[in-house]
Amino acid sequence: MAEIVTLAEAVRELVSDGQVVALEGFTHLIPHAAGHELVRQGRRDLTLVRMTPDVVYDQLIGAGCARKLVFSWGGNPGVGSLHRLRDAIEHQWPAPLELEEHSHAGMAAAYAAGASGLPFGVLRGYAGTDLVEHTSIAWVDCPFTGERLAAVRALHPDVGIVHAQRADQQGNVQLWGIAGVQKEVVLASTRSIVTVEEIVPELEPKPGAVVIPGWAVSAVALAPHGAHPSYAHGYYDRDNAFYLAWDEISRERERFRAWLQQHVLETSDVDEYRASLAAEVAAV
């Protein structure tokens, strides 16, 4: 049964230095508040797993939390490069970053295998690409047809972290809109944290919604606006202006550090983070 705790408690109890941690959210429901809490609590040497490392992983990598990155596409969607990720790869700042690199289809198959308790996922992919040398794959022959297919090692993070629209008092989680790999990462991980926009007495059925039963989740934490600058369908829109602004904020190390200090390290939770961003906008 999921415990309902504060985000700070969930991170303190469930995430340790050196672990394999996946924060997922395919452009939607990205758990930024949880990422900020990892930075505040100073987690180090993490292997960070994420199909689309974007702004939240740029922040974690720039803050020095990561030792290794497992990913399939690393960029600021619709904007360009992730400058902190590139600085880590190109100049080893603030620390060297080991890479394990997939395609989206490969990584999705690896999560689905992890959620299924299988040792590998299978796909028609990777053949003829140089990715083969930089990822965790092998070739298998289909026992029925003989076709050669790519096998990708299952992903089993120590901790999977996602954001969702809401949960009930029992920790049952409900999310809708673009569902990404939210369910797969929770089920593939040994332990899981779900941050939510609201905790309601009872979950009303919602067409097309994904429900993750509370007994399959380790901890649920309330974090309204916890996906910002990503969005929560039905609650608030994507803050496109922030993604554009991040290109400038993250470009130079000093400005990035100042931003992280002011808006993450000197705030204690998502409410204070939002207030500090609003104060800065008001001052301009």
Partner: protein, 256 residues
């Protein structure tokens, strides 16, 4: 750049229009952000209203009012016929062969339409680290055919890729079959100078059409391998007023 000075449209607009015209009504296309998204949305607003737009975020049949800034914008989900998970979009829809046309961009392309979107320079000590593969390798192998949209320059059209992220025709004729790739592969490379298509025999990309005002010499100079030129070189029809109005009416979410 503009291929032809004061034509009243840009080379980028001609690229979007040229790609759009290749989409027949009802075509199911796998679309990324940028020029491909413009081209597919333009087709949907002009000659191909039943064109089905599939984004890798799992939105099938999206009908956005605005061009999305990211492939996961909420408007795509709100207007889609179906929203599916990411494992499902790549397994049931892409790899199962349900997509007619996939669009790809890249930092580098070679004469056989192989693409690099991973790294410039050495992998372990890159000059420029690019975002990486994303959906590209399986789009390249599984879609019925692939359109590449890429501005032409010797830096992008190279003799040798720094990294092969996605397979076009591999080492040439027969490579795709040996690798088990199911789709036809790259059937058009649409550039700011013209269009390259694979030679039926060798699969080598060959200049087959030019933007109005552009020359074969320009295309050859902008290509890092000795570019083959088709004997009969077509000239793309200039964008119509309707096409330009529809194209310029497409605003991104951030501009709206």
């Amino acid at each position: 750049m503009s291929a032809n000075g004061d034509a009243g449209y840009t080379a980028d607009e001609m690229m979007a229009v040229a790609a759009s015209r290749r989409l027949a009504d009802g075509t199911v296309c796998f679309v990324g952000i940028g020029l491909p998204s413009k081209a597919a949305n333009l087709a949907r607003r002009t000659h191909a209203p039943k064109c089905v737009l599939v984004y890798e975020s799992g939105t099938i049949g999206a009908k956005p009012e605005h061009l999305p800034l990211s492939i996961g914008d909420g408007e795509l989900a709100e207007t889609a016929d179906a929203v599916v998970s990411v494992p499902e979009i790549f397994a049931y829809w892409l790899q199962a062969g349900r997509i007619d046309v996939g669009f790809l961009g890249a930092a580098q392309i070679d004469r056989f339409g192989n693409l690099n979107s991973t790294v410039i320079g050495d992998y372990d000590h890159p000059t420029v680290r690019l975002p990486g593969a994303g959906g590209a390798p399986e789009i390249a192998s599984s879609c019925g055919e692939v359109f590449v949209m890429l501005r032409q320059s010797p830096r992008a059209f190279v003799e040798r890729l720094d990294f092969r992220t996605s397979v076009g025709y591999g080492e040439g004729r027969g490579s795709r079959e040996r690798l088990g790739a199911r789709g036809k592969g790259v059937t058009a490379v649409i550039t700011d100078i013209g269009v390259l298509e694979p030679d039926v025999e060798s699969c080598e990309l060959t200049l087959t059409a030019l933007q109005p005002g552009a020359t074969a010499e320009q295309a050859i100079a902008a290509t890092g391998w000795p570019l083959q030129v088709a004997r009969e070189l077509a000239v793309l029809e200039v964008p119509t007023g309707e096409e330009l109005r529809a194209l310029r009416g497409l605003k991104t979410t951030a501009e709206a």
